[in-house]
């Protein structure tokens, strides 16, 4: 019996891993620019599409181990590229404006990117062929197997969480971003170009979402509507964990990941509603989320 | 005695912003509170008006203990305040700002099915207050010059027909000519309506020209209180005010 519980735990961690990547991006951007970026789901979808498309092209020519690095770079590059375009061109103009307009702008970007995906990659879902099975599976007792690639995704999630912690606390840019998040005026006063900090942060967030989309691709398909579906779950994570807090995003994604697994296994009827009930309960008792700040 | 605090205390960690203060206001009296920055003047007003919870002591207003009363109850009782950083309804006209206050006073701010424009009594009274304070009727609050915005802040408080009106630096950020103009509006209005005034003020001319009594605060304590001319000669007060 214990290996089944282990399998549940792992599939919960698996879901939490890439959900964290999307949520982390969302919360960093909100932490700094106070903008709720609905287009973040589209960046996840872009990462997925670019990875799926690139792998479809070159998976034959390059040796297997390289596949995984290629996927991550492709996803990250694709999302970062889109980030570089939309932040300075569109988002920068609404930082000072009313919340309604910021939300509406990111909603517009989400719609536009959804259709651009249709234009570029066509109506059908894109999928990889091999890499997911290349790593094969490991037996975990009781005749049960678990794909090694699952561990890769989970490891990727924790690694990036670690990197983010390191980046935010130890590197110069990280500290500047946090200081700008705390107080824009002071950061600008001591000579930092806040505008470029915004762009860099947005690209960091976009890259995270892109990687999230890319690493899931081997085990799933890139299809339209991907961005819209993942977004609402990323919102649940960010709301539970607290807007603007990376720690919150990590714990939030674990909570949502585990809730989904428990829901599917034992309460199939209310599996979907369960996540949102938790979000509402958290918001009732801790309006700013577990580690949110105003 | 309209207001009396009995060794009122409010601490922010080690900082004793209000340290066992016994502050008294008589009916129809205009009291000025002066003192260097951080003397606890604004904290005292915040505690009296319910914006901050006290850490100790009592507040007696017209014989009733209102130490733990809610903001809503204090306003119903007649304690109203204005703000140092102007707090007015930016998106509404000066006329509407006043009407909202009057409606709230008359307890009909929640009436859903009574058109505000058809309420002639409120309109008439609002217009009177606008004239009293010399404010234009239709310009939006946000478009008013700084002086008028300060006046509107006080006028909205005034429209609640308070018994005790606490003003937090009503003339700050305004030229001296404007300062006198503002006080020449507020003081007669208060006298006419028999409202006792507590004014936090830095400008010594204003303090000495317009107040009945002056209370000097320093590091959370009342250093001295008395008539304006007594305060003027008081050596200790001069040292504190000069050194600060």
């Amino acid at each position: 019996m214990s290996n089944i519980i282990f399998l549940y735990l792992i599939s919960g961690l698996y879901y939490a891993a890439y959900l964290f990547l999307v949520a982390a991006g969302l919360t960093i951007i909100f932490g700094l620019a106070r903008v709720v970026n609905l287009a973040h789901g589209a960046l996840y979808a872009i990462g997925a599409y670019v990875a799926a498309w690139l792998m479809g092209l070159i998976s034959k020519q390059i040796p297997p181990p390289l596949w995984y690095i290629i996927i991550i770079i492709a996803g990250a590059a694709g999302a970062a590229f889109v980030g570089i375009i939309i932040e300075p061109l569109l988002l920068r103009r609404v930082y000072g404006r009313l919340e309604e307009f910021q939300l509406l702008l990111t909603f517009a970007i989400l719609l536009i990117i959804e259709d651009l995906e249709l234009m570029i990659w066509g109506p059908y879902p894109l999928a990889f062929k091999e890499p997911y099975h290349y790593l094969g599976a490991v037996s975990i007792g009781g005749g049960l197997m678990y794909p090694l690639y699952g561990f890769v995704v989970i490891a990727m999630g924790w690694l990036i969480a670690l990197f983010l912690w390191f980046f935010m606390t130890k590197t110069k840019l990280g500290i500047i971003i946090r200081s700008a998040a705390a107080n824009k005026e002071v950061t600008a006063a001591i000579g930092h170009n806040v505008k470029s900090i915004y762009t860099k942060t947005f690209i960091l967030g976009a890259t995270l979402a892109g990687i999230g989309g890319a690493i899931v691709m081997p085990s799933a398909t890139a299809q339209l509507g991907l961005g819209i579906d993942i977004l609402v779950f990323a919102f649940a994570v960010v709301v539970i964990g607290g807007l603007g807090s990376l720690k919150g995003a990590l714990v939030g994604s674990l909570i949502v990941g585990m809730t989904r697994v428990v829901g599917i296994a034992y309460f199939p009827e209310i599996e979907l509603a369960l996540i949102w009930l938790i979000a509402v309960i958290v918001l009732v008792f801790r309006p700013l989320g577990l580690w949110g700040r105003e | 005695m309209i207001l009396e605090t009995q060794n009122l205390r409010k601490y922010f960690g080690e900082v004793h912003a209000v340290d066992n203060v016994n502050f008294k206001v008589k009916e129809e009296e205009i009291v000025a509170i002066i003192g260097p920055n951080g003397a606890g003047k604004t904290t005292l007003v915040n505690v009296i008006t319910g914006y901050l919870k006290p850490d100790g002591g009592k507040i007696i207003f017209m014989g009733k203990d209102i130490t733990n009363a809610s903001i809503y109850e204090r306003i119903r009782a007649g304690i109203v305040r204005s703000f140092q950083l102007v707090n007015i309804f930016e998106g509404l006209s000066a006329f509407d700002n006043i009407r909202v206050a009057i409606n709230s006073r008359e307890r009909k701010e929640g009436k859903i099915f009574s058109l505000i424009d058809r309420d002639t009594t409120v309109t008439k009274e609002a217009l009177q207050i606008l004239d009293l304070f010399g404010l234009p009727k239709d310009t939006l609050a946000r478009d008013l010059p700084h002086g008028d915005r300060k006046l509107l802040d006080v006028a909205t408080a005034f429209a609640l027909k308070p018994k005790l009106l606490l003003l937090d630096e009503p003339t700050s950020g305004v030229s001296t000519r404007e300062k006198n103009k503002i006080m020449d509006v507020i003081i007669p209005a208060a006298r006419k309506e028999k409202v006792s005034l507590v004014v936090i003020e830095h400008d010594m001319d204003i303090v000495f020209n317009y107040s009945d009594r002056i209370v000097v605060m320093h590091q959370g304590k009342i250093l001295f209180e008395g008539k304006p001319d007594e305060v003027r000669e008081h050596t200790e007060v001069k040292r504190v005010l000069l050194v600060g």
Binding site: Y15, A220, V261 | -
Partner: protein
């Protein structure tokens, strides 16, 4: 109109014009009075108890086609058009089509459009229907709401003469009532849920459908038992299910459960999951749960992009090794090239019990050969059952129009005249013998299921070792849904009701062998 503002940073509006009390009353009065006048006008204008005269249905003595003996009617030369009393319009025949054109469901939906266009081009090449060229207008079958609104627009604004389409079992129950009310001849291809003609539209007039769903769930359920018996020598007892959470998934499940409870009373329903559809890309928790309950067999009805995500993840978990027999009713339903060669072999292959392009064998059924060759030539892909359904439906419509035209000597027939012909229409189509039943306007053809095998030459996984069951053995007999089945009763469809009442416990129904 007084303006209001929510935040000072916004540009301030012009000083608003002051509204006097009189004007205020005037406006409110005007608005309310205007509404009242409008309502009164409707009350007076609308005729109350006058029932609009419905055209008398034309009964035409036509040849009844004996089903078992297949008369081969290859789509041959068109009938020569002689100008009759009512002139045949020269304007093109506008066909409205709705199907999934994008997203996870496109691999099933787009072939429907392609099959329809292939048939339309052949018909136009052969001179059209009674000389009228056929023109197809296609719209994306998005959510149920957009589909209903878009259908009304096709009928009312684009003024289509004929409607062919619909994939989702969520959309046909929604559109059918509107088709009857708007009196537009609507030939559904899929959206196969029996609920349409058993519950929602019990006496259909303007709505027909190429096939229906109950045989699909039943034959694939029997195929599960058959493959398990072939593999282990005994019948399975522990069943598990994973379905998309909408009409199709729910009814495949219902029929499978009714049949299994009858045939094997001691079966165990180990786990049933209904998954949000479309859009679920992470099945790891569902896979884990199924591995936990250790079922003998798993019946699924997942399909399209979501199904591909499912089976790839399942491969990683060694799911197909742990589960003795797995079948999805629609695994091979999308266009054949969609299911790549990494799909496991030797497990069940479901094609919605309708059609796999290699069967009936091309040399035995010239209609199938003609269809597969012309479809591949045009679209460079092999057709799926949706393409075959649309293709057959348009040829059936052409045949019916030409048959009634020959009877009434002239003029383009009214829809009310075409309907009785279609109601007893039978022909040999690419999938074999196909016949529409008068009482529920459903198309009937024998059900097919099979086993999965990789074909390196073709480059995709395909169906082999076909398993047939005659359709009348696994669906309710004629008029059952009108005379016996109670829509408000406990059973979801007429077939479920029929199984419950007529199948004996512990035995296979007659006509079904494992």
């Amino acid at each position: 109109m007084p303006e209001t503002f929510s935040n000072p940073k916004e540009v301030p509006p012009e000083a608003r014009s002051k509204l006097s009390r009189r004007e205020l009353l005037g406006i409110i009065g005007g608005l309310v009075v205007g509404g009242a006048i409008g309502a009164a006008a409707t009350y007076v204008a609308a005729p109350k108890e006058v029932v609009k005269e419905v055209a008398k249905t034309v009964t035409v003595p036509g040849p009844t086609v004996t089903v078992p003996g297949p008369t081969v009617t290859v789509p041959g030369p068109t009938v020569t058009v002689t100008p009759g009393a009512r002139p045949v319009p020269t304007t093109p025949l506008k066909i409205g089509c709705q199907t999934f054109m994008k997203g996870g469901n496109a691999p099933l939906g787009v072939p429907l459009y392609e099959g329809l266009v292939a048939a339309a081009e052949e018909i136009n090449k052969a001179g059209g229907i009674l000389g009228r060229k056929v023109e197809v207008i296609v719209r994306d079958e998005a959510g149920t709401d957009e589909t209903v609104k878009e259908y009304k627009r096709l009928v009312l604004e684009d003024k289509i003469d004929l409607y062919i389409g619909l994939i989702s079992s969520a959309n046909t129950p929604a559109v059918a009532p509107h088709a009857e009310e708007l009196k537009c001849l609507s030939l559904f291809i899929d959206g196969c849920t029996d609920v349409v003609f058993d519950v929602v539209d019990r006496n259909p007039v303007y709505v027909f459908r190429n096939h229906f769903q109950s045989p699909d769930g039943l034959i694939n359920n029997f195929q599960l038992m058959r493959l398990y018996k072939r593999k282990t020598g005994k019948l399975p007892t522990r069943f598990a299910y994973i379905h998309p959470d909408y009409g199709y998934g729910r009814l495949v499940h219902a029929h499978a459960r009714y049949a299994t409870d009858k045939v094997m009373p001691e079966n165990v329903n180990a786990y049933e999951a209904f998954v949000k559809f479309p859009g679920t890309t992470d099945f790891s928790a569902y896979i884990t749960k199924m591995l936990e309950v250790k079922p003998d067999v798993v019946l699924s009805s997942e399909w399209g992009g979501d199904f591909k995500a499912f089976y790839k993840q399942a491969l990683g978990y060694g799911y197909f090794k742990a589960i003795p027999v797995f079948i999805s009713t629609l695994s091979h339903g999308t266009y054949p090239e969609f299911l790549e060669t990494d799909y496991p072999e030797g497990i069940g292959a479901g094609v919605h019990a309708n059609y796999w392009f290699e069967y009936p064998l091309l040399d035995q059924n010239p209609v199938n050969k003609y269809f597969v060759d012309s479809y591949f030539a045009k679209w460079k892909r092999y057709p799926n059952f949706e393409a075959e359904g649309a293709w057959t439906m348009l040829w059936a419509f052409k045949g019916a129009v030409e048959e009634i035209y020959a009877k009434i000597k002239g003029g383009w027939p009214e829809t009310e005249e075409i309907v009785p012909i279609l109601e007893r229409w039978a022909m040999v189509c690419p999938a074999g013998v196909w016949q529409i039943r008068k009482d529920n306007h459903n198309g009937y053809k024998d059900a097919i299921s099979g086993v999965s095998i990789n074909d390196p030459k073709l480059g995709f996984n395909k169906l082999t070792d076909p398993y047939y069951i005659r359709v009348d053995k696994i669906s309710a007999p004629p008029r059952w849904q009108l005379e016996v089945f109670d829509p408000k009763g406990p059973h979801p469809t007429a077939t479920a009701d029929w199984i419950f009442r007529t199948w004996k416990k512990g035995e296979l129904p007659d006509g079904v062998t494992l």
